[in-house]
């Protein structure tokens, strides 16, 4: 089996110069508006913005869980169970679209989604505004940052988006390796090689190792049954879009279980096996799994600095 790697490697020798471009490190500093981000951060953790004050953004995008949903699927107000596992909020700024079905163009657009979704936070724009306008401190903070006489919904999402922009996790081992700062361990390196030769990189590429295209789950070996909800087809109705999802980012993947859109895979190993089979057509060997896992673990970056500051 190792020979397969070497052969594959030889085959793909011509592609070597590309590897630096296909995957890129996160920036170590990001420009963002501090005032807005601080305000957004406050709201991110505030259950005030959900109908029954039980749910905040952080409930489903848990900063202690890689910014992702620790439960199988997300649960909204009144303990309403959703159908999807909320993706991580970390580094999501770099995704070309937001949501599993890519219906939001940017973070600002995305923020409105859960706020309005009746099974998530179930708030209308007016209700959000009212809650915040009645809150003296929010009123003051908003007037300082946005210079308006009252809190406006557009400013709410704007602040939250700005905060999320600051939720980046730089200096993962892999990033440092890409920058030439460190060397990877042997199996991490081999895992990285496998990642490319097997074809994972074809979909999981870019700065976020994903998040820049829609792909089919069950591309080579179809799933037992079609996805019920959350895919592009549910949004567009185009048969071409069945089982087609936005590719999630692999950064911090070791922190963000469970995996896949429905949170059906609780371990990385399980996910790897499923992905390799359905999307690449291969039965992953244990060794291959181990090596890939080693590689994926190098993608864990530092906790976002903004979470540490007040």
């Amino acid at each position: 089996m190792p020979r397969v790697f070497i052969l594959s490697l030889l085959l793909l020798v011509s592609h070597l110069p590309n590897q630096a471009m296909a995957l890129q490190p996160l920036p170590q500093e990001v420009d963002y508006d501090e005032g807005k981000a601080r305000l957004g951060k406050r709201m991110f953790f505030d259950t005030l913005l959900s109908k029954d004050r039980s749910v905040s953004c952080a409930t489903c995008h848990d900063p202690d869980h890689g910014g992702a949903e620790p439960r199988e699927v997300s649960i909204g107000i009144g303990n309403q169970k959703g159908t999807l596992n909320a993706p991580t909020v970390y580094n999501t700024y770099y995704n070309f679209r937001q949501f599993w079905d890519g219906r939001a163009l940017d973070l600002k657009e995305q923020a409105a989604g859960p706020l309005h979704n009746p099974i998530e936070m179930a708030m209308t724009a007016e209700e959000v505004e009212q809650r915040l306008n009645d809150h003296a401190e929010y009123l003051l903070l908003f007037s300082r940052v946005y210079h308006q006489s009252r809190v406006r919904f557009e400013d709410v999402t704007d602040a939250i988006a700005e905060f999320e922009k600051a939720l980046f996790t730089p200096d993962s081992p892999f990033d440092r390796y890409l920058r030439g700062e460190i060397e990877l361990a042997a199996d991490e390196k081999e895992g990285y090689l496998l990642f490319r030769t097997m074809g994972c990189v074809t979909c999981h590429n870019g700065i976020n190792l994903g998040g820049n295209s829609y792909q089919y789950i069950g591309a080579v070996n179809p799933l037992e049954k079609d996805v019920v909800t959350g895919d592009l087809y549910a949004r567009t109705g185009d048969p071409f879009d069945r089982n087609r999802f936005k590719v999630p980012s692999l950064r911090n993947i070791e922190l963000t279980s469970p995996y896949l859109h429905d949170g059906s895979k609780s371990t990385l190993g399980e996910t790897l096996a499923a992905m390799a089979f359905h999307n690449l057509g291969f039965d992953l060997t244990a060794e291959e799994n181990r090596l890939l896992t080693a590689f994926l673990k190098t993608l864990t970056g530092k906790r976002p600095a903004i979470l540490e500051s007040p």
């Binding site: 592609h15 296909a22 074809g199 590429n205 700065i207 820049n212 295209s213 829609y214 792909q215 039965d283």
Partner: protein
Amino acid sequence: MRLQFKIYVALILALLAGLTFFYSKSRTDALLSGHNQLIHNLAEMELLNKRVDEEIWSTAYRLYHNYDEVHRLIKEIRNLGGEIRLLAFLDSAEYQAFWKKLDKFDQLLEQKEQAIIRYTTLNSLVKNSVSHVPGLTHRYIKNFVNEDQAYVEDLSQATSLVFLASNAMDAELLIGFNEVLQRLQDKEFADPDRKRFNRVFLSHARIVDRYLAQYIPVFMGILDIPIDKALHQTSELFLDISKRQAESVHLWSLLITLAFIGSLGMIVIFLINLDRRHRELSGLHNALEQGATIDHLTGLKNRFAFERSLDTGTDQALIIINIDGFKHINNFYGHEAGDSILVQMAAVLQSALARSEHGLFRLGGDDFGVLVEGGTDDPQMLARKLIGTMEYTLFTFDGNPVPINVTAGLSTAAPLLETANQTLNQIKRTRMKFLAYDPDVGQKARMRDNLRIIRVLKEAINNDLVIPYFMPIMNNSNHRIERYECLVRVVSEDGALLLPNEFLSVAREGRLNADLTRIMIEKSFKAFTDTELEFSVNLAIEDILDPEVTDFLFNRLEQSPDIGRRLTFEILESEEVKSYEAIADFVRRSADYECRIAIDDFGSGYSNLRHLLELNIHTLKIDGSLIRNIMEDPHAAQAIQAITTLAHKIGITSIVAEYVCSKEIQARVSEMGIDYSQGFYIGQPLPHLLELSMLD
């Protein structure tokens, strides 16, 4: 008002021009910056679009690539487009077509993006499978004992077809691929490993089979979307519209320039007008000044200029040169001649004074003034010299000589004009040619006095202060006072009694003699109404010629007709008897009332024998000057005798000797046979009649 209006118009035009300039400038600036941004953005977008295509090619060429970049590029293109949409100047209607083009571009971009997204899905799918087919083929050869040549051949064929078609980007090159897949599918395997392998291989091969044909057109389709052209056309259209816009800006510029030029033009016209008017006014002013200071006939400076030349500080003297009897010359030779004489005289004087500093003026009428500036010439000598020059000058008119005599008065005392004039008046009464002002003569005082007398007279007339005095006239045959002469006296404000010699000439000048005469007539009539005495009233020739006086007189006579035969008019002869017609008329009318006429002061002055005959004289009064000298001067006595004889001979029965002031004279007068005597010896004028009728 018109000027103000014009100024406002000019100012408003200038203001408008200024405002329009600034407005158009700001518009132009905004326009230019907007244009620049737009063109820049469009150019950027074209560039970025090319990079998008590059990325697509990159992705297509490579097995795997970074999809981030293409999405970033599209986002940036959209942003740039968004910036364009925000440009304010595009709001105007001219850019309708441009907006359409921009919208079309947006559509195409959206189309391209969707195509790209679809492409990324297909690309990842196909690329993976395309790379795995040969890999798996090799793996089989490597790992499995080669029993089935046909199977290996199929794998190999599949490999080569996939390679060919994917590299050529031509699905048609998958010739026989379906058959291969069919055979692979139909293959039965006992070995589970081989079975599994086959399954995996087949799944990849099927991907290629199904998706390569989709993938290639989607890829080509992306590149076919005519975004380039759309951008280019948008750019062109914009430039086209802008050119038209620029023309409108040019129009504005033109308008501004025209307004500015117009404004300037207006100002220039105003200035020209102003200048013209100014010149007119200047000319007018000069002409006026000329007219005001120049005498048009002679061309000399006039009285007004003279007044202005007077300078009390310096030693100036004035010589007034006057033509004797100029009025007569005008009447005799005509006014044309008179004007010509004046012109000639002016010329003579001008040439005489040519080399001097003295000013020559025509002071009015026939008066020429020489204002002698102090220092150089002796004014007296100059005056004499000028007069001499006049005398040697031959003045002519129409070829005929016009004899001219001039007199001159000189004064150095201010006020020059008055004193010189006084001197001239004085000299006119004499035969002298020249007189210098003698301040001792007190002309000024006299003039003041005259005015005073006029005032006094007027007051007296109005306030009944004109008093007749009566001087007795004695009949030498019976030594009885049979008649009186009425003499006018005036009481002045301070009670002083003014005698005729003090005021008569003034009265005449002031035209008050008519009033005096009337008052005298009235009061005399009153005084003598209830008597049988005769009385005489003095009448001047002017009085006789004055209808006011004569009408009054005859009216009065009409009222008291009896008094007429006791009334005698004493008439003083003067040169003013031009025609006897009026006199004769008076004589006739007075004869109707049986009034008599007496000649006063006969033998002196203008004594005229013709008067004696024509006027039906009744009484002759021998002038006092003759009577006074009767004792000393034998000629006087003889003259008197002659007059007396003559008078008697022509039927004048009453002769009165005036100024009989002594007993001796009276004796002599009586001796000579003069009928009546009057004088201080006989009796002084008194405001009342004498009680006695006899005098011893």
